[in-house]
Symmetry: D2
């Protein structure tokens, strides 16, 4: 379920708008689900960069006073989630540097698989690092490029980095947008009126800033925007895209559109396919709110079983609060969710969740529903079994912690979580719903399910 895998970042950029910093703030607010640990904005007035970072949500990191000082008509922003334990603010992005050609701000969503190698090379050449982020590698490569001008150097170095990256880079007067050759993370372009261009990890931010969707960034493509207009190019030959399929399953906001597909519709379709693959005789379909509601609607519609709001989430459950002491530990799930007895009691319930990683949460939810009087609880998961770690910027439990690696069969997993039955969407079902020609294997990255990674991993 939701809290067991975490997207690590979201990026936003805007060019040629008088309220550049304000709109970046709103864009980040729309992307907040992609990172809640820190937020940052860098802005340029054409001569120099100003930036500000803060811990927590965008609304905690920024105040009206701070935004008022950030004048300029270009800006980039970043929201971040991280597991690293210390110096968190220092690692907050956009990172801002001063180098021989001027100022440079870099915002990065993703993870470079060859960062450690490039970092070693740079340090051997005398570079020093102030953060533990991959992102600092990118800035060093630009600064050390043989190419004299940023507009030549930046595209040039992109071919040296591998892994996942949705990048927005800003100098005093230029904006560079780029997507890794595998297209692992989403990245789209929009327009506000005729003049202003925006880039965002997800299209939901376009709605928030009053922009219209223009087009997606292509894998291996860079886009340079400056006063001369827009220039595009490729730093890698066109390969098959490997867009993270988990964006559709869980990460992206349902109102975003990725590669032409509405996330909401895909999720409904995942539910319908799940119903075809794993139907069950039941009285009611219930979703683990909020993320699983669309697939629950799809599942219910496919089998013509009533969808009911059998689980209600405390609207304040997202806020951090004092965790129950040992004596009250059993309350943990009840503080977030409650089961509606009137709907559950005496019923055969299909419980839809978007994914299972560790399985600890779903086990508690099954118990909650049983305590509310369900006659049967059949768990259906709208994605395949998660068995493998992600190397592209998603925070996950270790392989040993994953439920699917602790059991050989679905039945044993179902017993572990206490359900009457348990079934997962098949990989083919997933790929079908996300609308892929099954003859082509790697239009989406399904490595966490299949173990087949689209890049070299440089693991030693």
């Amino acid at each position: 379920m939701s809290s067991e895998m975490k997207e690590k970042c979201g990026v936003f950029g805007i060019f040629n708008h008088p309220q550049a910093a304000d709109l970046t703030y709103y864009g980040l607010h729309a992307l907040q689900h992609r990172g809640q640990e820190s937020a940052g904005i860098a802005v340029s007035d054409g001569k120099r960069l100003k930036h500000h970072h803060g811990m927590g949500l965008v609304n905690q990191a920024f105040s009206r006073d701070i935004l008022d000082k950030m004048d300029g008509n270009m800006a980039i922003g970043h929201v971040r989630y991280s597991t690293s334990g210390e110096s968190l603010l220092k690692n907050a992005q956009p990172l801002v540097f001063n180098y021989s050609k001027g100022d440079l701000a870099v915002a990065h969503n993703g993870n470079l698989v060859n960062a450690r190698i490039e970092r070693d090379v740079l340090q051997q050449q005398g570079s020093i690092f102030q953060t533990t982020t991959d992102t600092e590698v990118i800035a060093h490569l630009i600064a050390r490029s043989k190419k004299q001008r940023f507009e030549h150097a930046a595209p040039d170095i992109l071919s040296r980095i591998d892994g996942s990256f949705a990048l927005v880079i800003m100098t005093e007067n230029q904006l560079l947008i780029a997507l890794d050759r595998h297209g692992l993370r989403p990245l789209s372009l929009g327009k506000i009126g005729d003049d202003a261009i925006v880039a965002s990890s997800e299209t939901c931010a376009f709605n928030a800033v009053g922009a219209k969707f223009w087009r997606d960034v292509e894998p291996g493509e860079w886009i340079l925007i400056n006063e001369n207009g827009i220039e595009t190019g490729r730093f890698a030959k066109k390969e098959e895209m490997s867009l993270c399929s988990f964006e559709f399953v869980y990460f992206a906001r349902p109102d975003s559109v990725i590669r032409g597909r509405s996330v909401l519709s895909i999720r409904k379709e995942l539910g319908e396919t799940l119903a075809k693959e794993h139907p069950v005789e039941a009285d009611v379909v219930v979703a683990v709110p909020e993320s699983s509601i669309p697939s629950a609607l799809g599942y219910a519609h496919q089998l013509d079983i009533p969808y009911e709001m059998g689980l209600i989430k405390n609207p304040y459950a997202g806020r951090s609060f004092i965790e129950p002491t040992q004596e009250l530990r059993e309350l943990a799930v009840r503080l977030k969710l409650s089961a509606v007895e009137e709907i559950i009691e005496g019923k055969r319930v299909v419980l839809i969740d978007d994914s299972i990683v560790r399985g600890t949460t779903i086990k508690r939810i099954v118990k909650l529903i049983q305590d509310a009087g369900a006659k049967e609880v059949h768990v259906r998961i709208s994605s395949p079994m998660v068995r493998n770690p992600c190397f592209y910027g998603v925070d996950m439990p270790t392989k040993e912690e994953m439920l699917a690696n602790r059991h050989e069969q679905e039945q044993a997993m179902g017993e572990t979580i206490g359900a009457d039955s348990l079934a997962f969407l098949s990989t083919d079902g997933l790929l079908e719903a996300v609308n892929i020609d099954l003859a082509e294997t790697n239009q989406h990255c399904i490595a966490c399910f299949s173990g087949a990674y689209p890049t070299h991993l440089y693991l030693d």
Copy 2:
């Protein structure tokens, strides 16, 4: 819609549990939707009271350190919303007093219609007030009672106060729970195991603390709990109940049960009745999230039109954030809600909202849906027109600000909000859904719709 009317408070109490303060914290967390401005807990170890108040949500007002100091096996708590501009912390409840018999903590949800009169009488007798709350009146009346013992004095003075009150009052070793003679606000009792008794404004808090529902408090009833056991009595003869119907329409959490009725089911029924009264030919039913989803499901089910998630709420929309400047004002609604074009475009949309007070928000939402390409937008409201102020503890706009008082007919109102049609649930439809014998007029309070108040108002 949601933000235009505000429930002012929630109360919680617990007797005979070793984690009394912790459980009160979790109970308040479950009642957080009833008040977000301040939170407070008073606890007793049998000898004296300790208390703590703080501004903001329960998780902002309390820390582990603070809770750790609140030892004792009885506690009461309160969450509060208020419009008064100053000294907010001072008015935070539970109010705690020291009087001739010892300590006294009072938590009150509601509004006393004769508070001004009683306050004047008390001040003429030499009482001084440190807060502007009605609640302080209650403490003074207890302190000045001729009855020597708290257990006699407290029930005695309840007959002197009129209006709405769900009360929990605590001394060093006794807990008194009482509900006004009209039963205007909800108040229920639960049990944890065999020994501990809890009281709460809503049953959703029972789930959060692992309690089982026991029974509702009756109008005009008081319940005294101490080491001798539980004693109950009446301070007013049994009258017809006038429970606030807006609790069902909007205030209460859907997973609460009030007077034996699940709030979720009632809301669905409101939607079904609305569909019968005001059907429309349409392609899709869309809810204003979150509160209107159940009635939208009911409406869709009744007319067999698909329910779709056409409006998505930013999951972080509830947090305060920097409001758009004048130039960006049009973004205000877009930062909270977005319309999913794939679902809306070219469709005839029925938009369900739970209520209209001012009408400013719904107007913006209609526009949002039209911008997403809707062919038609038909607004259906699952409650009658709000025309009258509440004197029982609900914060509302003035009569002049209410949309229903600025127009004679639904059609004109519909034009004002830009919809193709607009219709409200009838008062009879509302009463039917909340399951009332229509021969009896005052089993629920519908004063904000009808203007017929169940109590004297003491307006001058």
Copy 3:
């Protein structure tokens, strides 16, 4: 030394000045040494009172925003120190009440010896208390007075309270200033130009707000200021004054003038008298900074021994900081004070301190000076031995903790603190310096030295 006895409060009031709240803020800043725990201001615009309290220093409790909202041309303020462990903000003064005649704000420096008795009587009559302060008793007495008008009631009730009190009380349009019948605490009046009147615990605040000293308030006197002008009267017959002699020894700022005497000059004279009583052959006179510098100058001048800055205080020593752990405990005094070796080494040092209560600090300082190479260390104290608790608003150790109660003779005390000799100013020497006809015994309160209290103590 300084940190062992603590004055509990300072009060300030102003009438008829357009910047009343701002000037009260500056007045409290000047009185900050009298209380660092909380600060508060109440202001009146002629119709109603507004007030604000905050924890910590005046600059921490107030912001420009808060002051800007406090419009009005009358105000009272209070700084407070307290030992009570909880609900500190609630007890912060001025306390503000609403009673039958309107609003009332009370700021009080001192301690009522009959507070407990009066509180019991009031509670028997039905009064309830929200604070644990004596000050709330005063408000209740005013509210319950038979006298109808504030200007009659307030002076009337003053005769019912005993102990120490420098009081400023404000209604919407009147200011009442009063001093207890013994004149235990200082209280003075000043004028700004022709129109505005100020009252303050110490005259140093007059300098800070640009006021000229007008006159002291007399023991047993009340002064009522309103739009009709200034009215004065007595609530007790003129008795001999018993002004706290410790104000001269330590509490008051050296630039204050009390009862016509400059505190600075008195302290110098205390040093001169001490030199006459307890001369010593020495090379250098060193003060424990800051409070003992004037008496060290006097001592040095009297005996013609050079005064030198042999002890230097860290200018940031006043701020709270992380106390050394057990392993580093010996550093405690070194973090605050350091001895200048060049001055101390090989010298016979007279070390002047203003008082000894527990004796723990002076012991460490003696060691510090010995470690710096002093040949001899002779401690001279510019006040008599403290042997008795204060019941008039000064925080002190218990009798058992006082060094003077643990030893019979000065010699033994000197050995305890490790000095070569130790001597205290005599009570007669003190009274002479503070300029009292020794035939009259109670012109100053010397109870902490002598045990002769000027009031009844109501101890049981």
Copy 4:
């Protein structure tokens, strides 16, 4: 006076002590007067560095929790004052880097005159900068050194930087201490017991941590401390020292010893010399507290005029507080200082201050003394006229703002500040007091008085 010139930094280091971080905290507390804007500590447990920075005073930047996590037996620390307007926390020191040989922390007091040039060279070679500090240049130079080992590289690069620097640099297991070739800033070594070595900008920190003074660091010297012991060397041939004379006049704490001279004694001698050069017939000598008290004592002693505490500083004046509004502007100086009328009235006053830069503050103080009734006010300054900017790390007004550059003669300056006479210590007088053979010109830096800078300035 004090607030017109600001020392920018203080550094501290410790090797081989189990409470390294705690002692660094106390050392920085003792050096707090050298920088109040931010504070930082880096600590090593032999394997890796941890660090923490915070804004404000040391006690605001650190908590017990933070210190408890900083385990290790080597640490360096820094307090900082800066005028730069943004990203202040980012520039807080010690700066910590990761480079090819491991971790590196750098704390620097001073200003490199060739930083801009070296930074340009480094950037041309591809280095990127994240701060605007000179200090980052030092780290880059070490990282790019041809010398493979830190212990060779660090001493090597010191010859490339010019200007003022008192440096402490730490790796995982080595501590390097170095002083610029001119010895512009003070830097001393001490020992705790036999094993632990400390370095500090001033010796006052040795007292605070229980260390004994060992010796001063020599100009052009480096000292490397690691498990093999202590190694020293020179990166520049021995030149005449040019120690900042303003350290004696104002910056250093009076209890510090610099180059064998007690700062307190030097200040007294400055007063005595001033008295010889510019005697005046007067009744009383008064100091501007705190910094001018020693020279006032010297002046008074030399002329046998009584020294009196005629000006008293509000003990809370150092805290930031709400500045008076325009209407109350005249109060500004009165909130910090007050004149004691009893001492001043009718007297001929000699007012001693340590320096005049802008002259705005002294003008207000002269007025304060005149308002208190002084018959005459003669201002005597214990340093020469400040006419030139400092390029070595002291924050000063512009040349145009300096009083000495706006007037040709002392008399005109005296009139400007409203005094009856004004005189400054001569440069020879200053040099004599700081004990210099006048035949040698550059044993102390007096550039701010004379304009003769000891280094090239690279101003181009």
